[in-house]
């Protein structure tokens, strides 16, 4: 996590995020052709997708359930809702309107918690459809400006989307990254989306403004093309500084849409908000209201899995680690918290279990091959100082390669025989005698001098002594 300097002169950052996610359905929002990424262009098309005359949309029940899962996981109220047409002309939108939700969305008034009990409000999470994909040809940049023509693939047109709109409650780029990361974890946990930012199944639009506390929020700019969690942070930091520089230079911020360029690390004007924003919404006459009754909502809620925040908390309590710390986040994200619990249940040392899994099981998936009892045995060998932490790492690698096994036998095979404390103590005494200068400095409170003494013991034990044990003995001997 890079530390970014706060804005100068008391300026405060205000960020709201609009996140679009493609739902993990088999078919589209309003028609039965496949929702599948990576297929040959225009092989998942039908009359509704293409906006052919007379074609009528019909809601996909599974898309609605996935959208309800998102809403409920984000503590939203799920309510009766309607669909609207958002009218604009663009070649990847064959009907010349997008079906979306306007004044009565499915999910409203939720929130998501960030580390440090920071609460980010969720204004709404509504259903809509994705557009087709345009590729621009000719011209110099490959971007739209100056291109000679475009080719359109409608496979993505009509794919179910949920747009999750946060309230402008985010105050730092770090919080924005945490928000996107946590949202992604939740989407994966509830099975609503594969949430792959690199494939565009999760896309962020970032609204940034600056103000001085106690004054109204400034004019905001919307940043598009932010395609990774890292870019979310970079784009916000750049844009906030740009706005402060403009205002302090005597200028004013125009409300506009800006494009994030990941290569140059800058945002640039895409369009100013004029007619493009006049979408003439009106009720979609081809769809009737969606009114989820309480029993449906209850059934969806009952089927929700335990959410990442609760799992991190449980893991943290089990293992004595920070619930917002790296090991809890990583292990839960990989779905390995149940495995860690099994290691602990098999008698393993909890803290070592979670750390081993975090550090060495990145490639193992939710159900690692190593039997929980074998990993448990290794944590106990290290805890009881039968092997050093360095030796334990070697054994961990052996254990993963072998897919399990008797760790005591592996330790013997490696020649990792435990040194008893009296042997180590003798070596510590020898090191003190051999390094009187270092010992004197250490006794005078120079902690840096410890390294030379520990190193000497390590050398004489040929690496078999445990660094922590040596340190503890030296500390005990310090007058």
């Amino acid at each position: 996590m890079s530390e970014v300097a706060a804005l100068p002169n008391g300026w405060q950052l205000i960020v709201g995020l609009e996140v679009h996610v493609e739902l993990a359905t088999k078919t589209k929002m309003f028609s039965a052709s496949a929702n599948r990424f990576g297929d040959e262009p225009n092989t998942n098309i039908d009359p509704v997708t293409l906006g052919l005359p007379g074609a009528l949309p019909v809601l996909n029940q599974h898309a609605i359930e996935l959208a309800m899962r998102i809403g409920l996981a984000l503590n939203c109220k799920v309510q009766p809702c309607t669909f609207h047409r958002k009218n604009y002309f663009y070649p990847d939108l064959p009907k010349a309107y997008q079906i979306t939700q306007y004044d009565h969305p499915l999910n409203i008034d939720g929130h998501l918690m960030l580390p440090g009990e920071v609460r980010i409000g969720i204004e709404r999470a509504h259903l809509e459809e994705d557009t087709g994909k345009s590729t621009h040809f000719g011209g110099s940049s490959g971007r739209i400006h100056g291109s000679d023509y475009s080719l359109i693939d409608f496979n993505r047109a009509g794919v179910p989307l949920v747009e999750i709109v946060s309230r402008p409650d985010i105050r730092t780029s770090e919080q924005a990254r945490q928000y996107v990361g946590e949202l992604r974890s939740i989407l994966l946990a509830v099975g609503a989306s594969d949430a792959k930012m690199e494939e565009g199944s999760m896309r962020c639009d970032v609204n940034v403004s600056v103000h001085k506390p106690g004054t109204p929020f400034g004019t905001r700019c919307e940043i598009k093309n932010v395609n990774s969690i890292r870019s979310v942070g970079r784009a916000i930091d750049y844009e906030a500084r740009r706005q402060v520089d403009v205002i302090e230079g005597g200028g004013t911020i125009r409300q506009e849409t800006r494009h994030w360029d990941d290569a140059t690390g800058r945002t640039e004007t895409l369009r100013t908000k004029e007619d493009a924003d006049d979408y003439r919404y009106f009720l979609e006459p081809d769809l009737v209201p969606l009114v989820p009754d309480q029993s449906w909502i209850d059934a969806v809620r009952a089927a929700l899995p335990v959410l990442p925040a609760a799992r991190r908390k449980a893991l943290a309590e089990l293992c004595g680690v920070d619930k917002d710390g790296e090991s809890a986040i990583v292990v839960v994200e990989r779905g390995q918290d149940d495995y860690v619990a099994a290691v602990v249940a098999a008698g393993g040392d909890p803290r070592r279990a979670v750390v081993y899994v975090q550090q060495a099981f990145a490639e193992q998936g939710a159900t690692p091959k190593v039997p929980a009892k074998d990993l448990a045995a290794l944590t106990i060998l290290e805890r009881d100082a039968k092997v050093t932490s360095t030796q334990a790492k070697t054994l961990l690698t052996d254990l993963i390669e072998a897919g399990g096994g008797d760790v005591s036998a592996m330790a013997t095979k490696r020649g990792f025989e435990a040194l008893d404390t009296s042997a180590v103590e003798a070596m510590v005494d020898a090191a003190i005698a051999a390094e009187p200068g270092a010992w004197q400095k250490y006794c005078n409170g120079e902690e840096k001098a410890l390294g030379a003494l520990v190193g000497a013991v390590m050398k004489s034990s040929k690496g078999k002594a445990d660094g922590k044990v040596i340190t503890a003995l030296l500390q005990a001997k310090r007058p």
């Binding site: 359905t25 088999k26 052709s33 262009p41 039908d46 996909n60 029940q61 070649p91 557009t131």
Partner: protein, 100 residues
């Protein structure tokens, strides 16, 4: 309901709808739209406080389908009917304005 619709509004709406109207057509449309809005003024005059807003004339809700895939249209057949196609995709003139 506000005053009659202005010619400027009609021009703006026609631009948003990508319609190019002649001066004569604009005059005619302005008059016709004003007539339609007049009708809504009649409704506005009624006391509708106890009437639920109607979003659909049909007494239906929750019309849903199962998430079951059906075959796609034939791509070649579809593209044959397009003004231009290339590499399995629709070919369209360059677009200016905005990039999504």
């Amino acid at each position: 309901m506000a005053e009659k619709i202005s010619k400027e509004t009609v021009v703006k709406v026609s631009r948003l709808a990508r319609l190019s109207l002649t001066t004569e057509e604009t005059e005619r449309m302005t008059a016709q739209l004003a007539g339609m809005l007049e009708h809504f003024r009649d409704i506005d005059a009624l006391d509708l406080a106890s009437v639920e807003p109607m979003t659909q004339p049909y007494p239906l809700k929750n019309v849903l389908r199962k998430d079951v895939e059906l075959p796609s249209l034939d791509r070649d057949e579809v593209l044959d009917q397009a003004p231009a196609a290339e590499s399995g995709r629709f070919r369209v003139p360059p677009t200016i304005g905005f990039d999504v």
